[in-house]
Symmetry: C2
Subunit: 355 residues, 2 copies
Amino acid sequence: MAEQDNGRAKRGQRRGARGPTVADVARLAQVSPMTVSRVVNSDPKVHETTRAKVEKAIAELGYVPNLAARSLAGGRQCRIGLLHSNPSAAYLSEFLVGSTEQANAMGAQLLVEHFEEEASRDELAAKLLLHRVDAVLLPPPLSDDVLLLECINRAGMVMAQVATGAPSPLAHAVTIDDEAAAFGLTARLIALGHKRIGFIGGAPNQTASALRRNGYRRALESAGIDADRRLETTGDFTFRSGMDCALALLALDERPSAIFASNDDMAAATIAAAHRMGLDVPRQLSVCGFDDTASATNVWPELTTARQPVADMAREAVRLLVDSVFDAKARTPRHVRVDFSLVLRQSDTGVAVSA
Amino acid sequence: MAEQDNGRAKRGQRRGARGPTVADVARLAQVSPMTVSRVVNSDPKVHETTRAKVEKAIAELGYVPNLAARSLAGGRQCRIGLLHSNPSAAYLSEFLVGSTEQANAMGAQLLVEHFEEEASRDELAAKLLLHRVDAVLLPPPLSDDVLLLECINRAGMVMAQVATGAPSPLAHAVTIDDEAAAFGLTARLIALGHKRIGFIGGAPNQTASALRRNGYRRALESAGIDADRRLETTGDFTFRSGMDCALALLALDERPSAIFASNDDMAAATIAAAHRMGLDVPRQLSVCGFDDTASATNVWPELTTARQPVADMAREAVRLLVDSVFDAKARTPRHVRVDFSLVLRQSDTGVAVSA
DNA sequence: TTTTACCTTGGTAGCGCTATCAACAGCAAT
DNA sequence: ATTGCTGTTGATAGCGCTACCAAGGTAAAA
């Protein structure tokens, strides 16, 4: 009931005091609202003096632009649909942090949508359209779903694939050089003295899996080690599949002395499998993973792995999308490659073992 | 230059065709824009017949409300700051999914902000204020930071603590019954025949830690088992601390036959420690965790644990916050308790072992 | 000096929606 | 017939911001 007037004169006849507006700033700085708008949007054609005055007024009032009004007036409005489907929680977490941050910073709205494997791609596209989604952000494994890409493209939305092995001409892409990273890790195992190195591949439907396998093979090759196809197994990025593959590898007559798993979960499983068989890691078996997710440090010994800057990749992808939505010229698909790094921990640094 | 008119009469003189508006729907349904607005917002006082007409028109045009305009006109605007500080990635991920979903559904804006341990709470509050944050969402461990709560409260923002053991009178709280869950898990271990059950506590500065410890103690007590304080250790929810505690417990003269860890990461570490000492889990050592995060299934054997519905809790918290922001009457702190469940997997189901 | 060209600023008119209040039924009670 | 309702609808006026165009000033060119 009590109409409390917290120190500020009520503006309209609507409900009480919200934050200061361009008009307030304009009054204080003795310029027009329009000029304030220009300063806020860093329009180059504002005189230095005026800009300073306005900035002072802004600081004084603690003015913050109202996003709603801005996007309404500006006509611009960017909704990004983030589609995810059962990626590792650790990956998704980092991805979400990066993408929400960037989306907020750029005034875009992020809609997080879970995509069931079995769901119809057409229905999904229809749903996105219904939600007025302008752009779609695709973390793996969805970034490799060609049907989905085509479907979304047909619906006229911009897309960004993150961490795909096969950038589509229909979409932006942000990737690391998976092959180089896998090459690097394998080369390191070789440098440690290993000659029989087992490989656990990722899900065949993710293109990155093939790239990592190539990196592994190329490293062996360039070290002059004959490839033994029995040492190559294929999992699906889950812990359980990693366990199965590792057990199979460790049951071979000529057991590998090192195993390169295509992601951290499978590497963690490999360590578990080794322990289960009474092998010490890294003394009797060196292991390395890929991705540097939380799993990498939640095992003992901690995993040597390749780190993708997931949050940065998400940020970059959002940036590409927002730019595309606001500026038709930026709509031609771009492919951004970001740097990875090798994180050396304890899972592989045992005494070098010769086969 | 070519003013392309894509099939729809241009509305303003501004840039071309955006989606249909209330006016379009109103015209088609032969009612006033206001009535359309009422239907969209499910205002009860609209006649059945009218509602049907409008809904038909909406469907026909594929109308979707413009959020920006709505929040501008409604004067309502809700920004929720989600503060997180190094929680487990798995937890954060689920939390983010739940909270972004709910925030979008309720037309609120979510700002994700990382809070460094060392950062000044006052500066943080100032920053939140600067970003015009109306409400703050606090997942653990921040939900237990009393200083932070006071600070934010002083700044006049609404808060919600998630998974705290000590709901503050200053904030909403969404919790599970940690004590009951810990009781349940411990009771299960006892039922399996264990008499010496080790305990790995969580970080002392998180109130949930104490509750879990109480549940553990109470279960022992009600089973008539004498508490042996040497069996109680204290970690800090990290894998590494779990490893240390587990190694200590397993080095005791009278080794425990089961260990209850206060979260999954520490339970995973316990399994790793057991393997490291050549003990089989669950045959020689039963283990159970808490939270049912991704870690629970990324170890072998998989963890028996207590599941918190993290995403649901986040959703509920967001709901409480948004309601509070839009409706002053809903601002009195509420404490919502949601159900947990015990997830029985393989880490504890060995042959029952007697001490 | 006048003209042309900027460079900077201001005025006006909405963006799409909803709060508010006024208006008009239709019906019961006076 | 008049009054008073409840239930439903419409008209009006902005929310805070920016696109657009026009207007003033100053400097360079004629």
